[in-house]
Amino acid sequence: MLAVVVSLVLSQVVVAPGAAPAASSAPASSASPWGRPLEWRQGEGVQRVWVSPVLVAEVGPSLEGAQAVKRVDATAVVVAERAKVRLWRVKDAAQVRAVLPTLVVVVNDLPSTGSRARVPVGLVCGGQRVEASGMEAMERAAKEPGCVPDFWMRGFAR
């Protein structure tokens, strides 16, 4: 049953028409847990990110939310936390999101945990912020010209 749910979630990942694995980064094979990239146009270029297989985001973190994540994956650990977002590293992000659909996808700039991780918490269309998050934001950014994801990211003091 769980496997069915996971495959449903994975099937919702948007792949822009013509999207291909990264040219110069190590390509993600079909067996890669990183899947295929999501794309959207930004200015004259195409932006590309990969859904993290190991990170999920709790938007509006709470004690109850943390307990729920721990119940689904006892090995889950918090890797970043701010007032409005908490990032969890889990064994299988898709599985955890399937059980807890309020959790939001995390995307990486490259198919690598070492690359920048961002959380689509909204959408910006023509300079106006639009309420949409997670895969909905990514889908709409891919389809609607002039729309880009509004990402949450962890800032790094230097």
């Binding site: 990264a22 040219a23 110069s24 980064s25 190590a26 890669s32 847990p33 990183w34 930004q42 200015g43 004259e44 270029g45 932006q47 590309r48 297989p53 190991v54 701010r82 007032a83 409005k84 977002v85 700039d109 490259l110 198919p111 690598s112 945990t113 070492g114 690359s115 920048r116 918490v121 909204g122 910006v124 300079g127 912020r129 880009v148 994801p149 509004d150 990402f151 949450w152 990211m153 962890r154 800032g155 790094f156 003091a157 230097r158």
Partner: protein, 748 residues
């Protein structure tokens, strides 16, 4: 037979031992050893060679083995005594959290009427007042101006549980709202205390640097601003001494507002000068302290950033800090989470002190621009694309300098990171339309990842790499580059920080023990409000930003592009024995590690006084070169492609963007260099790539039209040959230089 004899002997011996030897306590435990008031803990024990035991206090005589529940109301030391043996266990009792009082100065008011909430608690670790205040003192007071009937809830938590209390303030319609009278401004050192007489409601203060204020035009006047819904007295700090400010005031209550009062004015004046006790440690400011900023002479001439607003874009700033408060621009800061507690603000507080800690106030330290006005944008507490943009443009006609000792990517990965589109729109807007079109000065930390195993480079940072910002690197007291400070063709200048000689910077820390300095750390001050450990390009950047404030004090009409030239031309060739110093086509000394050199305050101010503003920016986008040539593997020559440009119109280059597209399975093998008239801009260097934590594979960056930035060709002509060289210095992969193009920015 021998077994039975041995058993009998053992029984005899045990009896003998019990009778003659002292008791032995096998164990004595208390579980748990910390409880809240009202909870119980269990004492458990076992004693050998004892008929019985005694536990004090409260328990009394007990068997030699057993357990007992206890519920003390305070910390208790339990003693177990058994036939001469004694041991103790401690049970800590956390205090119950209690709200001792929570009152409102009035339970009925009009819309926007002033109400003071006052409370006292005990046993609490944290309190909040809702609606509106996430983190308040455990016992204290605050002013509220409800616009409608509001129930305020004080909620406190602590180890001893939660506690709450409520007060409802009923709001009734206003009657007889009248124009305030008798406005007065009492001058202080960099501040004005505004007072007026008002019967009911709150007030809107209309404030500007010119007379004849009118409500409709206030925000187009010099320094014009409306401080909304405040009360008398109203203290404005962060003002320029010697400058006259004007104000009028209206009464407001809900949607109603009266006409403006008569106008009053005041002129802040310097107070008595008292030395700052930790100034002697601030080697970065002292003329004989090492490779300092050389600001003493400018200060002596009165150039101290007087009234120049500097936004500290960071995690937050302790705006009430004793050495920052006099310079805080009243009500100009913005809190991106609403009620962010000051304990989150240690980094930003250290940064703010380096820019503009108050001088000659008998407290702590000094900033580079010790009379600049500070405001805090704590965007790192909620760093979204839209907030990044907001932090770049918020108050863009008021803010003159924006300090950014942060990045939205982790340093040290060596990955080329694309620029967030919203942030880019923000800095573009701020640089081109902010400050009345002259552009906000964005100072940006170059990064701290140079000494990571992936050899990070500032050119890979999608923010520090951009033309709208000034990328700042850092060197130590001995002038040598800090090993962690990132190089890059984008690095404009460098400034002091902690280097390999491990001499960090002394600056402000958040008030109390919650910051970097808890007052008990070796090498730190006993006064926890200051820290001697600030380091990183986070530290060098605000020092350069402070010099930016000095520059704008003497020449506020300079554009951000002019200031970039001022900083480059005034930079000092620091550590001349260091490798790679060379001279560009305009005769400026340059170094990928130091940029044009060390920031020099006095030289910068001197050049700022005389530099001719550049006028409108020109740009020239080259045609796309599409060589589509294979890059030979592990080859010292590589491939080159040249764009020969003519009639660019850019007689003096100020910034270059180079956008190569290279397909290569492992871009970490590549060296990419732009050359023009003998000046080299090293854009990308071979380095390891970060392994993916899931698959274990190394993953390198894509290089598709990434706009590598370079300041190194400053004031060189745009026309001529621009050559891109790409070398593969790794073994085992081949790729292709598909295409590349240039965009030149500058002036005729």
């Amino acid at each position: 037979m021998r077994f039975l004899a041995a058993l009998a002997a053992l029984a005899l011996c045990a009896a003998c031992w019990r009778n003659k030897d002292p008791g032995i306590i096998a164990f004595f435990t208390v579980t748990p050893d910390i409880i809240s008031a009202g909870q119980s803990a269990q004492l458990s024990w076992q004693a050998l060679n004892a008929e019985g035991c005694r536990i004090t206090p409260d328990v009394g005589a007990v068997a030699a083995e057993g357990s007992w529940l206890v519920s003390p109301t305070k910390r208790t030391v339990f003693q177990l005594s058994c036939a001469g043996a004694t041991t103790v266990r401690v049970l800590d009792v956390l205090p119950e959290v209690r709200v001792l009082s929570f009152t409102a100065s009035t339970l009925q008011t009009i819309p926007d009427g002033a109400v003071k909430l006052t409370w006292a608690t005990e046993g609490a670790e944290r309190c909040e007042v809702k609606p509106g205040f996430e983190d308040v003192a455990l016992s204290g007071a605050l002013d509220v101006n409800p616009t409608q009937t509001t129930t305020y809830t004080l909620s406190c938590t602590g180890f001893g549980g939660p506690a709450t209390a409520q007060q409802t303030v009923t709001v009734v319609p206003a009657m007889n709202l009248e124009v305030p009278t008798n406005p007065q401004a009492v001058a202080g050192d960099s501040q004005l205390t505004l007072t007026w007489a008002q019967a009911v409601g709150a007030a809107n203060v209309y404030f500007a640097q010119a007379p004849n204020l009118e409500a409709g035009t206030i925000e187009s006047m010099p320094g014009g601003v409306i401080y909304r819904r405040v009360g008398s007295p109203f203290v404005l700090t962060g003002l320029a001494n010697g400058r006259t400010y004007y104000f009028r005031v209206s009464a407001v209550s809900g949607p109603d507002e009266t006409a403006l009062s008569t106008e009053a004015s005041g002129t802040p004046a310097a107070g008595p000068a008292v030395a700052d006790p930790y100034f002697g440690e601030q080697w970065h400011l002292l003329p004989d302290g090492g490779e300092d900023l050389n600001v003493a002479q400018s200060w002596a001439e009165g150039v101290r950033g007087e009234g120049v607003p500097v936004a500290i874009v960071d995690e937050g700033v302790d705006l009430a800090h004793e050495d920052l408060a006099p310079n805080v621009a009243t009500l100009r800061s913005y809190d991106y989470v609403g009620g962010a507690p000051v304990r989150w603000a240690e980094h930003g507080t250290c940064v703010a002190g380096l820019v503009a800690a108050r001088d000659w106030n008998g407290k702590g330290v000094r900033g580079v621009a010790p009379r600049a006005a500070i405001l805090s944008y704590n965007v790192l507490q909620d760093l979204t694309s839209t907030n990044e943009r907001d932090a770049m443009v918020r108050g863009k006609d008021y803010v003159q300098v924006s300090n950014n000792s942060w990045g939205d990517v982790d340093d040290g990965t060596g990955l080329v990171t694309t620029t967030d589109s919203q942030w880019l729109e923000g800095v573009r807007e701020g640089a081109t339309t902010g400050r009345g079109g002259k552009g906000v000065l964005y100072f940006w930390a170059a990064g701290n990842g140079a000494d990571s195993e992936y050899e990070d480079n500032s050119n890979y940072d999608g923010q520090a790499n951009r033309r709208f910002v000034f990328a700042i690197s850092g060197y130590g007291k001995n002038g040598k580059l800090a090993a962690y400070a990132e190089s890059g063709a984008n690095v404009l200048v460098s400034a002091p920080t902690e280097g390999s000689d491990l001499v960090a910077l002394t600056t402000t820390d958040i008030t109390g023990r919650a910051g970097y300095n808890d007052g008990a750390t070796l090498g730190e001050h006993a006064n926890p409000d200051y820290s001697a450990t600030m380091s990183g390009t986070s530290a060098s950047t605000p020092l350069a930003a402070g010099v930016g404030a000095l520059i704008l004090q003497v020449r506020p009409e300079l554009s951000y592009r002019d200031v970039r030239r001022v900083l480059a031309y005034s930079a000092r060739k620091v550590a001349p024995g260091e490798p790679e110093w060379t001279t560009n086509g305009a005769g400026l000394h340059i170094n990928h590690r130091y940029g044009f050199g060390a920031v020099d305050g006095q030289a910068a101010v001197a050049i700022a006084r005389t530099i001719v503003p550049a006028g409108p920016e020109l740009s020239f986008a080259s045609p796309v070169a599409a060589p589509a040539v294979a890059i030979p593997d592990y080859d010292g020559t590589g491939v080159t492609s040249t764009l020969t440009l003519s009639n660019t119109g850019v007689g003096h280059v100020e910034f270059v963007e180079v956008l190569p597209t290279v397909t290569h399975p492992r871009t970490g093998d590549l060296e990419i260099v732009l050359s023009h008239g003998g000046t080299l801009s090293v854009l990308h260097l071979p380095h390891r790539c970060v392994p993916d934590g899931v698959t274990g594979r190394e993953v390198c960056s894509d290089l598709v039209d990434y706009p590598f930035g370079s300041v190194r060709h400053l004031d060189e002509p745009g026309d001529g040959d621009w050559t891109l060289t790409v070398k593969d210095k790794g073994i085992g992969n081949v790729g292709t230089l598909v295409s590349w193009k240039l965009v030149l920015y500058g002036r005729p």
